[in-house]
Symmetry: C2
Subunit: 514 residues, 2 copies
C-alpha cells in the first residue's frame, strides 16, 4: 500500500529519452549488440564552499543492482514508445526496433564491475565499469548515474559529519525536507556513510536497524493548549517511555523552563529506578545551551545523561560548536571534553541535501568498443584536460605504503597486472609531464578494487548487511592519510595511470587532433 | 517491473519514528482522536546566494493526495512495530495502541485544505491546513512535508529559470544527478513551474507529454572509434530523425568541427525536403559559442534553426548569457535579440537540486485544538518572532488592487469573512506595531485561496492535467508585481494578519510568557 505512480516512472522508462533514440540508432546501424565499455567516475570532489571533501564514499550500488535485476521492458512501455510521434506525426520508433527492444529490453547482457559500497574512492578513478551491448549500456546510463551519484554524495557528506562528531552518535533526521521519496536513498546512504541511526521508520526497518527519535514540539504545545503545560507533557512522555526518555526542551524557554522541567522529571524517573537518556536542544545557540544545560544537569546529579543537538547542523557547524564549547565550558567550571563526550547530533536537511554541494558530478563515458579480440579506445576531447575521460578498457588498483596507508590509486589497462614488490612508475592522468616512481620497498600492498557485481542477469554478490558496508568505510578511513580527511582544504590524494594507459591517452589525443 | 523496496519504505512507515511514539502517547492520554489543526507554511523564500526568490510556486499536493488515499497501515507494519523494543528489551508499543492503529491507521479522517498546485504563494501564509484526529495529523507530518517541500522548491526554481528564458523553451534534463527516484518528483515540479518539457521518459508519459532529447556524446564517440567520425555520426542521426534533427556539436571542437559538420548535414536535409531543428552547445563559453554558431548558421542560410544551450545552467547563468550576447553579437554583425530569440535551454542539475538553496524550510505546526464548539489556539515561542507559527484555526485570502495585481495575502481566523468594498486594516504578522489600512476603493477583488483538497478518505478535486497547473502559474505571475519577480533582491510581498488574529497572537504570547 502507498506506492503511487511507480510502474511507469520507475521501470524501464526511468531514463532520458535520448537513450532510447540512441538505442534505435545503434540498432539501425547494426551496432546495438556491439560490446562497449563505459566508465563511471566523478571529476571533482564535493566542494561545499567553506570546506571541501578530499575523498568520497561509494554508495548506491546495492539498489542499482536490484533495479537492474528487476527491470525489463514490458508491453506497456513498448506501446508507449510505439505511440511517440515525430513533428510530422509519424512514428518515432521503427517496428523493427520495437521488436528488438521487446526481445532484448533488459539488462541481463550487461556486466557491472565496481568498487564495492562503503569504500573510500577518489576523483578520476573509474568506480564502476559497464560492459555489454552498446544499446543497453547506453539505456542504463541514466539510472546508473541517478542511483550512484546521489547515494555517493550523501554517504560522503555523512562520513564527514560522522568524523566531526568525534565518536558522538549521529542520527539522520532528513525526511521532512528531503527530495520526495529519494530521501529514502539518502537515509540509506547516510547510514552507509557512518550515521548511527535514522528517524526514517520504513528504511530503518528495511535495513534491519531500530529507528530513533525523541518527541515533537506539537506534543508540548498540545499539553500547553489543554492547560497541562510543558511539565505535564514531559511527565506523560516519561511515564510512557521511562527507559528511553529523551526530552525536547526548547518549546518555551530552554534554560528557564525546558531544562528545569526535564530535571524534575528525571528525578522522578530516578526515584522509580529508571535511567533517563537525555535532553534535546533544537534551537538557539546550541554550544552555549549545551554548556549551560550540562551545568544544570550536573548540579542535579545527571552528569551522565546525553545532550542531543539538532537544527541546521553539518560538519562545519559541528566543528564550530566543539570549538565554542572548548572556549566557553571553563567559564562554567566544566571540562569541555566531558561535555563533548556526551553530545549526540541530529542531522537532517544539510545531510540529505548535501548542503553546499548538492550534486556529485559523476559521469558515465564510453571508453572502448570491442573489435575482434581487442578493444578500440574511445575518446572525447575537451579544452579542460580533466574533462577528458581516460580512454580504453581498464581496471583499478590501490597501492598501500609501508605504514599501511593508501598512497595512490592506479588506473591500468585491463590486460595489465600490478603487484607489490616491483618498482612502479605512474603518470598524472591529465598532466603528461608529471610522473612518479616507487621503489619496490615503498609498496607494501596492492589491492585490486573492482569486483564483478552483476553479470548474466544476476547479482554476483550477496545483498550486503549495513554493518558490512559501515565496517568497510571505517576500515578504509583508518588507512587514509589524516591530511586527506581534513575538513578544510584537504591534502590531494593521488590517482595515477600506468605507462601503458598514459601512452594510449597521448597517442589517441594526437590522432584525434591531427 | 523495476520497483524495488517500495512496500515497506513508501507506505505507512514513510514517516519519522517519533510520529509513531507521539501517536501512542496521544492514545495513552486519550487524545488521539481529539481534533487538531496543523498549518503548513514556509518561513523564508529560497535565497540562492547571489540571487533570491520573492515568491514560491506550490507543487506536490497532487502526489501527496495520491499517497494519502493509497496508504494505510498493514499487518506487516503492525508486526514490525510490535517487534520494536526499548533499551530493556520490552515492547515499545502497547498492544492496545497497536489495536487502535490497526483499526484507525489511515488518513481518511483527515481534511486537507490547501492552496492549489501551480499557484504563487508567500512566506508565513498557511499553504495547507490539516484538520483531524491528533494522532493521525501527527503521523502524516513527515510525508506531507516531504511531498510539499521538495516539489514547491523545484517548481519555484523552475519558474525563475523560465522567467529568465524570456520565452525560449526550457527543457528539464536533471535525472542523472537528481536525488535517486525523487528526481521524478523534481521533473513533475519543474513542469508545473513552467518548464516546457523533460528528458525524463517515464514521468513525461505519466503526465501525458512528449519527452525531449537530442543525442549523446557517446554516439559521436562510437562513430569516431569505428572510423566514421563526427560527420558520419551526424549523418546517421539525420537519416533516422530527419524531421527532429538536433545535433550535439561539442564532442571534438564546436566551431572547428561540430558546427561545420552540422551545417553539412543540415544542407543535405534541406536538399531532401526536411527542416533541421538545430544544434546543441554543451560546454565552453556558451554565450560566445552561441553568437559564433549563429553567425555560421546564418551564413549557411539556417537563420531559423534553434540553438540549445546546456551545461550547469540556472537563472543567473541564463541572465548572464543574455547579457553577454547583447554585448558580443554586434561585433559579429548580429542582432542580439534574434540570437536570444532562437535559444532553448537544457537545465539539469541546478534545477533538480535547486542550486544555492537545496531545501525549502516548510514546517508543519500545531496551531489549534478543538474544544467543544470552538478551538483552543496553540503556540510555540521562539526568540525569533518569524519562527513563531501564527496560532489559531485560520484561512487565507489574496487581495488584488485596482490594477488587478495581488497586493497582500491576509491570514484570518476561520470564522471571519473578507470582502472587497469594505475598508481593511491588517497587521504585520510578527511586528506588532506595523499595520496598514486600505480604503474600500483600493481593493478590487478578494480571493479565498484555500480549497478542500481531501476529506472523508477521498480527493475532492479531480487529478489536474499539467496544462491546468501551468496555466495557473502563468495567471498568477501575470498578477504579481514585477518587482517581486525580480531575479536579485526582489521586492517583499506583504503577508498580513487580520485584527482578530493579531489580537489572538498578542494575548497568547502575553499569557504564555507571564
Amino acid at each position: 500500500m502507498g506506492r503511487i505512480h511507480s510502474d511507469l516512472m520507475e521501470g524501464f522508462l526511468f531514463t532520458d529519452q535520448y537513450q532510447l533514440s540512441m538505442a534505435q540508432l545503434y540498432w539501425k546501424q547494426g551496432v546495438s549488440d556491439t560490446t562497449a565499455q563505459f566508465d563511471y567516475f566523478f571529476r571533482r570532489y564535493p566542494d561545499y564552499g567553506e570546506h571541501q571533501a578530499g575523498y568520497a564514499i561509494t554508495a548506491g550500488l546495492g539498489w542499482l543492482v536490484e533495479w537492474l535485476s528487476a527491470t525489463r521492458v514490458t508491453k506497456t512501455e513498448i506501446d508507449i514508445l510505439r505511440g511517440q510521434k515525430n513533428p510530422l506525426g509519424e512514428p518515432r520508433f521503427d517496428e523493427g526496433f520495437l521488436t528488438w527492444l521487446a526481445e532484448n529490453g533488459d539488462f541481463g547482457a550487461l556486466t557491472l564491475r565496481a568498487v564495492e559500497e562503503g569504500r573510500v574512492v577518489h576523483a578520476a578513478a573509474p568506480i564502476a565499469i559497464v560492459e555489454g551491448p552498446m544499446a543497453l549500456a547506453q539505456i542504463v546510463e541514466t539510472s546508473l548515474l541517478n542511483h550512484l551519484n546521489y547515494q555517493t554524495l550523501i554517504a560522503t557528506k555523512a562520513s564527514r559529519i560522522v568524523e566531526q562528531a568525534r565518536g558522538g552518535k549521529v542520527l539522520e533526521f532528513g525526511m521532512r525536507r528531503g527530495p520526495d521519496i529519494g530521501t529514502n536513498a539518502g537515509t540509506r546512504a547516510a547510514l552507509i556513510g557512518g550515521a548511527d541511526a535514522s528517524s526514517n521508520a520504513g528504511v530503518s526497518h528495511a535495513l534491519g536497524i531500530d529507528p530513533q527519535g525523541t518527541h515533537a514540539h506539537s506534543m508540548v504545545q498540545l499539553f500547553m493548549a489543554t492547560g497541562h503545560g510543558e511539565l505535564g507533557a514531559f511527565r506523560a512522555y516519561a511515564e510512557l517511555y521511562p527507559d528511553e526518555c529523551l526530552l525536547l526542551v526548547d518549546t518555551i524557554d530552554t534554560l528557564g523552563s525546558g531544562v528545569p522541567n526535564a530535571i524534575t522529571v528525571f528525578e522522578e524517573l530516578r526515584t522509580n529506578g529508571h535511567v533517563p537518556l537525555g535532553i534535546r536542544l533544537d534551537s538557539g545557540d546550541l554550544a552555549h545551551l549545551a554548556v549551560r544545560s550540562a551545568r544544570m544537569l550536573d548540579d542535579a546529579g545527571f552528569g551522565d545523561v546525553g545532550i542531543v543537538l539538532s537544527s541546521d547542523l553539518d560538519e562545519l557547524a559541528m566543528w564550530q560548536i566543539r570549538e565554542q564549547i572548548h572556549q566557553e565550558a571553563p567559564e562554567y567550571g566544566l571540562d569541555p571534553s566531558e561535555i563533548i563526550g556526551r553530545l549526540m547530533y541530529g542531522v537532517g536537511t544539510r545531510l540529505v541535501t548535501s548542503h553546499g554541494h548538492p550534486a556529485l558530478d559523476g559521469v558515465y563515458k564510453l571508453v572502448a568498443v570491442r573489435s575482434g579480440d581487442g578493444w578500440k579506445p574511445a575518446i572525447k576531447l575537451s579544452d579542460t584536460p580533466e574533462k577528458m575521460p581516460i580512454p580504453g578498457a581498464k581496471t583499478l588498483w590501490r597501492v598501500y605504503d609501508r605504514r599501511g596507508l593508501a598512497t595512490v590509486d592506479v588506473v591500468g589497462s585491463n590486460d595489465e597486472g600490478l603487484v607489490a614488490g616491483s618498482p612502479l612508475t605512474v603518470h598524472h592522468p591529465f598532466r603528461p609531464s608529471v610522473s612518479r616512481t616507487f621503489a619496490p620497498d615503498e609498496i607494501a600492498e596492492v589491492e585490486s578494487l573492482h569486483r564483478t557485481i552483476y553479470t548474466d542477469g544476476e547479482a554476483q554478490i550477496e545483498a550486503e548487511p549495513l554493518d558490512v558496508l559501515r565496517d568497510r568505510r571505517a576500515g578504509d578511513l583508518a588507512r587514509l592519510d589524516i591530511g586527506v580527511r581534513r575538513l578544510v582544504n584537504p591534502h590531494r590524494y593521488h590517482v595515477s595511470v600506468t605507462p601503458q594507459v598514459h601512452e594510449l591517452q597521448t597517442n589517441l589525443i594526437d590522432e584525434t587532433q591531427s
